[in-house]
């Protein structure tokens, strides 16, 4: 498993709920290799987003280990995780979360801007990525001037900007119609495969899940094969 880029061992997470604690994840083991795509399905409230947040280092598990590449991420502070996150992984959200004041190209470049700087290489890459997601002509449009599908494509390009090892996509088609959603998933799978980037896709959509290399179900705080 030398090509494993993201690995979690026995991740557990509970939340306080009144006087009690609510167990969301109970010893989740997970691994994804470079270029591999994995889907995670589950009912609402099953802990899919919680798992994604733990994998992204946005939140701390109560127990378990997390490895980013070969590095023991569970031993890093949240600040250290933040410093590494921008280069190690990219995230795609259901609500796109584009910055409304800057155009599509600048949104894609924002990823590079936040981890180092912007030079000709980064400008070329952002333009190439926009072209790859089919928005070459829309680079200077503000997010408000783009359709939902176009916004999600920009978000995909932004997530790929820093050549991350992993893309974590949290229900990326949740706000899109079926056809546009299919297009976005197809695009996401294609570009991740091209760039040998691992893809972890959280989705409710069975058809989308089936397009990934591996399908997992999150039930009762445990991951199982779907």
């Amino acid at each position: 498993m030398s090509d494993v880029v993201l690995k979690a061992i026995a991740l557990s997470k509970t939340y306080p709920s009144g006087d009690k604690t609510l167990g969301v994840l109970a010893g989740v083991d997970f691994a994804v290799a470079a270029g591999e795509s994995v889907s995670i399905r589950g009912e609402s409230g099953s802990g899919k987003s919680t798992l994604l947040n733990l994998l992204a280092g946005l939140d701390r598990p109560d127990a378990g280990e997390l490895f980013w590449g070969g590095e023991a991420a569970h031993k890093l502070s949240l600040g250290e995780l933040t410093a590494r996150r921008g280069r190690f992984l990219g995230m795609v959200f259901q609500a796109y979360y584009l910055i409304p004041e800057i155009d599509a190209l600048a949104n894609v470049l924002m990823g590079a801007r936040m981890v180092g700087g912007v030079g000709p290489v980064e400008c070329d890459r952002s333009a190439a990525l926009l072209k790859r997601v089919g928005l070459a002509e829309r680079g200077h449009h503000l997010p408000a001037q783009l359709s939902g599908g176009e916004r999600q494509r920009v978000a995909v390009a932004r997530a790929l900007m820093n050549r991350p090892k992993v893309i974590l996509a949290d229900e990326p088609t949740g706000n899109l119609d079926e056809r546009t959603g299919d297009e976005v998933i197809a695009l996401l799978l294609e570009v991740c495969a091209e760039q040998q980037t691992a893809l972890v896709l959280v989705t409710h959509n069975v058809a989308h899940a089936k397009k990934t290399n591996r399908q997992l179900d999150l039930k009762n705080g445990q991951l199982g094969h779907g």
């Binding site: 933040t82 979360y97 800057i102 801007r113």
Partner: protein, 409 residues
């Protein structure tokens, strides 16, 4: 460009979109504060500058005073002339007399000057509104405008002068005869105190009235252009004999200057609150922005943005508002100063009428004098206040946890 600065700039001045209302209001708030501070300090500075000019024009830049009356000897004058900065000087004597014209009395201050030398020291002729300084001799006086108006005296009229010396003589049962002098001119300086109750006469007449023989109370000294009054006064004090001392115009009017300076500082202090209020409005608007952009703040964290960089983004917005507001305020302030007289005329026209305005406020044009250090102080204060205004929103943004911010509705 570091991303917090880039994002702050884009959030305040987004490309391809109209200026956000929040930016416009915040910049205008700071701008109005800066403009008001600039105008008020400049106008106060203008009054101060006018007073300074008036003092120097009536006393010279330096005054030599004796602890008692001085003997105006050639030796003393040689000593004064030996100081490099001195351009011209003339003796003076001063006191109080009683003036009477057509049974109307007045008790003005009187200044006696050496008429032959006074023009080189004090440009009195600039302030003569009726008559002429050339007509002033040992049997005539020049009255201040309000004094002449109060007495009803005009140029050519004869007024009676009673001096304290005459009272001394009256005690010795001597016959009290006033000195009859002709009004040779009327002056108006623009300073209420001097214009209301001052008489100018020749030094000899003053010496006669006070029985001073050849004694004088001091010398008014005009310095060479560019000479420093403090330095000149120090040089004079180094060579003057005991019993005589030199004071700069500022020292000679220290109390009055202190009042002016106090008023100016108080106005500056009070007006700083306008910028403080503007800074609070920036804080409030940026706090709303932080709440509105909670999920964006979360996104920045998810993309690898450190909390301190997220905080810097909001702090920098305060700084940019301060810079833009200060620039707007300076332009507005200097424009208002440029057109101040037209504005004053307009206000006077719609309120009390221009003539009444001039009568009560003693000026027909608003003076203004802008000091570089005042402008620098205003800029520094407004930029610092605006930047500090961004601190609370920045702290709040930095405290947001990305995972919670992304989850927020």
């Amino acid at each position: 460009m570091p991303w917090p600065i880039y994002l702050a700039l884009k959030q305040l001045f987004p490309s391809g979109r109209r200026l956000p209302f929040f930016t416009l209001i915040s910049v205008l708030g700071v701008g109005l504060g800066v403009a008001l501070m600039l105008v008020s300090t400049s106008v106060m500075g203008g009054f101060g500058h006018q007073v300074k000019t008036m003092i120097i024009d009536t006393q010279g830049e330096v005054q030599i005073r004796g602890r008692t009356a001085l003997k105006a000897t050639e030796a003393l004058e040689k000593i004064i002339a030996s100081v490099r900065e001195v351009a011209a000087f003339g003796p003076y004597a001063q006191g109080v007399v009683m003036l009477e014209f057509e049974h109307r009395p007045a008790f003005p201050g009187v200044q006696g000057f050496d008429i032959a030398r006074i023009k080189q020291v004090i440009p009195l002729e600039h302030y003569i509104t009726e008559g002429s300084l050339d007509d002033l001799d040992d049997d005539s006086v020049i009255l201040s405008s309000q004094l002449a108006y109060g007495l009803g005296a005009h140029v050519g009229d004869k007024v009676s002068v009673y001096s304290p010396l005459m009272l001394e003589r009256m005690k010795a049962n001597e016959v009290l005869l006033p000195r009859e002098v002709r009004v040779a001119g009327i002056f108006r300086i623009g300073h209420q105190q001097l214009d209301s109750s001052t008489v100018i006469c020749s030094l000899r007449l003053m010496q006669d009235l006070y029985g001073m023989d050849r004694l004088v109370h001091g010398y008014n000294v005009r310095l060479k252009p560019g000479a420093d009054p403090d330095h000149a006064a120090a040089a004079l004090n180094a060579v003057l004999p005991a019993g005589a001392g030199a004071l700069t115009w500022f020292e000679a009017n220290a109390d009055f200057q202190a009042v002016l300076s106090f008023e100016r500082n108080m106005i500056f202090f009070l007006l700083t609150f306008i910028i403080v209020v503007a800074a609070f409005s920036i804080t409030s608007s940026l706090l709303v922005t932080v709440v509105r952009k909670t999920r964006e703040v979360g996104l920045l964290g998810a993309m690898g943005g450190r909390a301190r960089d997220v905080a810097a983004c909001f702090c920098v917005q305060g700084l940019f508002i301060g810079l833009a507001g200060t620039a707007v305020g300076l332009v507005l302030g200097f424009a208002l100063l440029h057109y101040r007289n037209a504005l004053v005329a307009l206000i006077a026209k719609f309120t009390m009428g221009q003539e009444t305005f001039v009568k009560f406020y003693q000026f027909s044009s608003l003076p203004a004098h802008t000091e570089t250090k005042d402008v620098v102080m205003i800029i520094v204060f407004s930029v610092i206040a605006s930047t500090l205004a961004g601190l609370i929103p920045a702290w709040r943004a930095a405290k947001l946890k990305p995972v919670e911010a992304l989850r927020s509705e």
